[in-house]
C-alpha cells in the first residue's frame, strides 16, 4: 500500500481514510506493508509501516503537503521526496512477494507505476481527489494532471471514493466507467476522540448563552473548500440574524484573503478565525456550533459532516460532495447558490425543532456506519485482479 500521509501527520482527510481502510482490511486478514515518505510516530499492530527516508515528519513537513498542487512545479523538495519514494518502492516490490499494489492519490502514482513495471503486479489506484477537485474546478497543475492520467491508465483498476469522483475521472481522463469502482469512505466513531465537560471555546459558549447562534467550518482554507462562498452567504445571514457567529477553523493559502474578505463584507466582528487545530480544539469546534457548513466546490468524499454529527452538530453540505451520496439527514445546497445557502442557514438557525430532529436522525445514521463494508468491497477488487493476473 502506497500512501503519502497517515495520522497524526495528516494534512486532511486522505491520511485518515488510508488509516481507517487499512485497519479494516487488516481485520479482514489482509497483510499490509504501508510505504510513507517520512518517519512517523504512528504506532499500530495491524500493518507494517516503511519510511522511505530516515527523516522524521517534523523535519520534512513543509515540503510534503499532499494537497499543495501549485507548489509542485516550484518545489524541489516534493520532487526529490518523490524520487526517493519511487526507488524505495520499486526495490521493495521486487524483494517481497506481494499480491497487489494499492496506491493512494497522485503523489504515489509514479512509484506505483515503477513498481508495476518492476514486478508486473496488479495495480489498484485509489482516488481520493483529482487535480481539478483540489483547484476548485479549475484545471490545476498540468504536470500533476499528466501524472494522474498515466496512473489511471496504467492501473488495472481504479477505486473512487464517490460516484461523483468516478464520473469526474471518466470525464476528465477518458477512463472507461467500468474500470472504476466506487468504494465510499466511512466513519469509525470509535476512532474519534471524545468530548469532555468543558468546551475550549469559552467565549463562544458565552455568546451562545447570550442568544447567539454559531455556524462553523473546519477544513483547509483553499479555493476547493469555497469558504469565500460561505462568507458571502454569511453577510446575508448576519443581516437577518445579527447574532450569528461564523467560526472558521483551519489554515491554508486563502487565510489572508478570507480575513480581508470578511472585513470587506462588513462582517469581521462576526467571523472568528481560530487557525489550524487538532485534538480537543478540533473536536470542540464541531460541538460548540449549531450548524456545520461544508460548502465545497468539489469534495470527492468529505468526511467532516460525519465527524460533525458525531459531535452533535448537523450539517449543510454542497451537493458537489461524495458524502452527500451517502449522508441523508442533512441540508444540501449547490455550492454556487449563495442565496439558497443563506436561506437554509437562516431557516435552520430559526427552527429549533428542525435542528433537534435533524440531529437525532443524523446521529442514528452514523451509528450504523463503519469501514468494514468499504474494506470488503476493496478486498473483492483485490480478489478479482489477483485471479486475473495469476
Amino acid at each position: 500500500m502506497l500512501g503519502w500521509e497517515l495520522p497524526p501527520h495528516n494534512s486532511g482527510g486522505l491520511g485518515v481514510a488510508c488509516f481507517q481502510l487499512c485497519k479494516s482490511l487488516a481485520k479482514n486478514n489482509v497483510d499490509i506493508d504501508f510505504v510513507l515518505p517520512y518517519k512517523t510516530d504512528q504506532e499500530n499492530d495491524f500493518m507494517k509501516i516503511h519510511s522511505t527516508t530516515p527523516m522524521h515528519f517534523s523535519k520534512l513537513k513543509n515540503h510534503l503537503n499532499a494537497y499543495d498542487g501549485m507548489d509542485y512545479l516550484s518545489s524541489h523538495a516534493v520532487t526529490s521526496e518523490q524520487l526517493n519514494y519511487e526507488h524505495f518502492v520499486a526495490e521493495k516490490a521486487k524483494e517481497n512477494e506481494y499480491d497487489i499494489i494499492h496506491a493512494h492519490d497522485w503523489l504515489t502514482f509514479r512509484a506505483a507505476m515503477k513498481a508495476k513495471q518492476a514486478t508486473n503486479l496488479p495495480l489498484i489506484v485509489h482516488v481520493h481527489s483529482i487535480e481539478s477537485d483540489r483547484s476548485g474546478g479549475e484545471s490545476g497543475n498540468p504536470i500533476i494532471r499528466d501524472i494522474e492520467r498515466l496512473g489511471l491508465m496504467m492501473a488495472d483498476k481504479v477505486i473512487a471514493v464517490s460516484q461523483m469522483t468516478k464520473e469526474s475521472i471518466s470525464r476528465e481522463y477518458g477512463i472507461p466507467l467500468d474500470k472504476i469502482s466506487v468504494v465510499h469512505n466511512s466513519l469509525d466513531i470509535d476512532e474519534l476522540g471524545e468530548l469532555d465537560d468543558e468546551n475550549v471555546y469559552q467565549y463562544i459558549e458565552l455568546l451562545k448563552s447570550s442568544g447567539y447562534k454559531i455556524v462553523t467550518n473546519v477544513g483547509r482554507l483553499t479555493i476547493q473548500k469555497n469558504i469565500t462562498g460561505l462568507l458571502q452567504a454569511a453577510k446575508d445571514v448576519i443581516e437577518v440574524l445579527p447574532k450569528t457567529i461564523f467560526l472558521i477553523v483551519g489554515d491554508g493559502d486563502q487565510y489572508q484573503e478570507l480575513i480581508a474578505l470578511s472585513a470587506e463584507l462588513g462582517i469581521l466582528p462576526n467571523v472568528i478565525f481560530a487557525g489550524f487545530q487538532r485534538g480537543k480544539k478540533w473536536r470542540d469546534a464541531f460541538s460548540v456550533a449549531d450548524l456545520f457548513v461544508m460548502p465545497s466546490v468539489s469534495e470527492p468524499f468529505g468526511i467532516t459532516p460525519l465527524e460533525a454529527i458525531n459531535y452533535g452538530t448537523p450539517s449543510l453540505i454542497s451537493y458537489q460532495s461524495g458524502v452527500s451520496e451517502i449522508y441523508k439527514n442533512c441540508l444540501k445546497v449547490d455550492f454556487w447558490d449563495k442565496n439558497e445557502m443563506a436561506n437554509k442557514i437562516i431557516g435552520f438557525l430559526r427552527n429549533d425543532s428542525l435542528a433537534k430532529t435533524m440531529t437525532e436522525m443524523a446521529t442514528d445514521e452514523i451509528m450504523s456506519m463503519n469501514w468494514d463494508k468499504s474494506a470488503k468491497a476493496t478486498i473483492s477488487e483485490y480478489d478479482k485482479h489477483k485471479k486475473v493476473l495469476a
Binding site: 455568546l207 472585513a263 469581521l268 466582528p269
Partner: protein, 402 residues
C-alpha cells in the same frame, strides 16, 4: 527678526497586542503582556528603545541645552509611553523629567492614548486630551498650550475645536497640496478661527533626518551637519523651520552607527554660528512671528506615507471594521465604571494597532513592516479582534448585553 529652527520631537510607544488567540478570549484578559521569549513584547521594546534612543538622546539634548542658551526643544510624550516607563523604566522617565527641568523644553498636548478618537467620538477625544494634560501636569509640572493630534491628523474642524478649547497653536503637516504656492516656513492661522495659530512641518528637511539620514542609496548620503545647515541657510522667503519628527529618530529609526547623534550635536552650534539664527519652542514661535496667511484644510491630512492622509490607518476594510468595532463599544464600556476595562479599551484605540493592519506594500509598506510586531497585517487584525471579543466577554460578565 531672527530665523528659527523649531525642533519638535514626538515620543510614543503603544501597548502592542500579543499573539492572542480565540482560546484565550474569556480566560486571559491581559492582551498586552508577552512572555519572556517574545522579542516583540512591550517591555522588551521599552528596554530596547530606552537603551538605543531615549537615554542617549536625553543625555545628548540635556548637554546641548546646558551648553547653548539659544537651543530649545519641543516635546510630546504620550500617556501610554509615560505609563510604560513608570512601570518598566522609571529611570528613563526621570531622564525625560530632567530634560524638561532644564526649563528649555516645551511639552505639546495630544491624546493620552495616541488615538484617532477625534474622528470617531468627540467626547472620548476630549476625555483623552484632558487625561493627557493632567498626566503631563503631574509628571512634568507643565501645562501644554499647543496641540498636536495623533499622527498630525489635522483638518479645519480640529482647528475650530482647538481654538474653542483655548490652545494657542496647532501642529500640522506642511503638505504641498494644502500650502499651494506658499511654503511651510512661516506662521499661519487656520481659516475660521479666532486665536489659534498653525505651525506646519517642513517635511523635506524633517524627513532628511527622520527617514533618509542613514540611507546609503540616497544621493545626499552622507548628510553632514554643515551640508544640512547650508540648505537651511540658503532657503529664501523663510522665517521658521519646523523640524517635526519622531523622538525615536535618534538612535532607533536611525541607529547610532549612522552618526545621527553626532549630527544632532554638530548641527546646533553650526546653526547658531550665525547670530541671525536661533531655536524656539512652538509657543515662542507663535509669540514671536506674525501670521502671514490662513490655511484651509477641508480634508484630513497627516504626516504619514506618500498620500499624507489617514489611509495608513484606515485605508483598508480590516482597519475600518476594527476601529468601528472598538468605538461601537464606547457607551457600554464607559457605562461600566470599571477603570481597568476602560483603560484596556482605550489602549486598543491607539493608532498603531490600525497601522499594523495596513496592506499598502510598496514604498510605504517598507516602513510599515519595520514598525510592526506581526508577520502580516492579517495576524495583526486577528489578534486585535480577539482582544475586542474579550472586551465583550468582560462586558457580558458585568451584565451588559452584547
Amino acid at each position: 527678526m531672527k530665523k528659527s529652527i523649531i525642533l519638535y520631537l514626538h515620543a510614543h510607544q503603544p501597548y502592542r497586542v500579543k499573539n492572542y488567540s480565540i482560546f484565550e478570549v474569556g480566560k486571559n484578559h491581559d492582551y498586552f503582556s508577552c512572555d519572556d521569549s517574545d522579542s516583540n513584547g512591550n517591555q522588551k521594546i521599552i528596554d530596547k528603545v530606552s537603551e538605543k534612543s531615549y537615554l542617549p538622546t536625553n543625555k545628548k539634548l540635556i548637554h546641548l541645552l546646558n551648553s547653548y542658551p539659544d537651543f530649545k526643544v519641543s516635546l510630546s510624550i504620550t500617556g501610554t509611553l509615560i505609563t510604560e516607563l513608570e512601570e518598566w523604566a522609571p529611570d528613563v522617565l526621570q531622564s525625560f523629567v530632567d530634560l524638561v527641568n532644564t526649563g528649555k523644553v516645551e511639552i505639546v498636548a495630544e491624546t493620552y492614548h495616541h488615538s484617532l478618537a477625534f474622528f470617531y467620538s468627540l467626547q472620548e477625544f476630549e476625555i483623552q486630551v484632558r487625561m493627557h494634560r493632567e498626566k503631563i501636569e503631574s509628571v512634568f509640572g507643565q501645562t501644554p498650550k499647543v496641540f498636536r493630534n495623533t499622527e498630525l491628523a489635522y483638518n479645519n474642524d480640529l482647528a475650530i475645536w482647538a481654538d474653542k478649547a483655548g490652545y494657542k497653536g496647532l501642529l500640522a503637516e506642511g503638505w504641498d497640496k494644502v500650502l499651494g504656492w506658499r511654503n511651510s516656513n512661516h506662521l499661519y492661522k487656520p481659516i475660521n478661527t479666532q486665536n489659534v495659530k498653525l505651525l506646519m512641518k517642513n517635511y523635506k528637511l524633517s524627513d532628511d533626518i527622520a527617514f533618509r539620514f542613514g540611507n546609503r542609496n540616497w544621493s545626499e548620503w552622507p548628510l553632514t551637519a554643515d551640508k544640512y545647515i547650508n540648505w537651511i541657510n540658503d532657503s529664501q522667503d523663510s522665517e521658521i523651520f519646523n523640524l517635526f519628527m519622531d523622538y525615536e529618530t535618534f538612535g532607533e529609526h536611525q541607529w547610532e552607527d549612522t552618526g545621527i547623534f553626532d549630527f544632532l550635536e554638530n548641527m546646533v552650534p553650526i546653526w547658531l554660528k550665525d547670530s541671525n539664527n536661533t531655536f524656539m519652542t512652538v509657543s515662542e514661535a507663535i509669540d514671536n512671528y506674525e501670521v502671514v496667511d490662513a490655511i484651509d484644510v477641508p480634508e484630513t491630512i497627516t504626516w504619514a506615507d506618500t498620500e499624507r492622509d489617514l489611509s495608513a490607518w484606515l485605508g483598508n476594510a480590516m482597519q475600518q471594521q476594527a476601529i468601528k468595532a472598538i468605538y461601537s463599544l464606547s457607551s457600554k464600556i464607559l457605562g461600566t465604571d470599571d477603570w481597568s476595562l476602560i483603560e484596556d479599551w482605550r489602549r486598543l484605540q491607539t493608532s498603531d494597532h490600525f497601522y499594523y493592519m495596513c496592506t499598502k506594500y510598496f514604498n510605504d509598506g517598507d516602513i510599515h513592516a519595520y514598525f510592526s510586531p506581526y508577520k502580516t497585517p492579517y495576524d495583526a487584525t486577528i489578534n486585535f479582534m480577539n482582544a475586542w471579543h474579550d472586551l465583550r466577554f468582560r462586558l457580558n460578565e458585568k451584565g451588559v448585553e452584547i
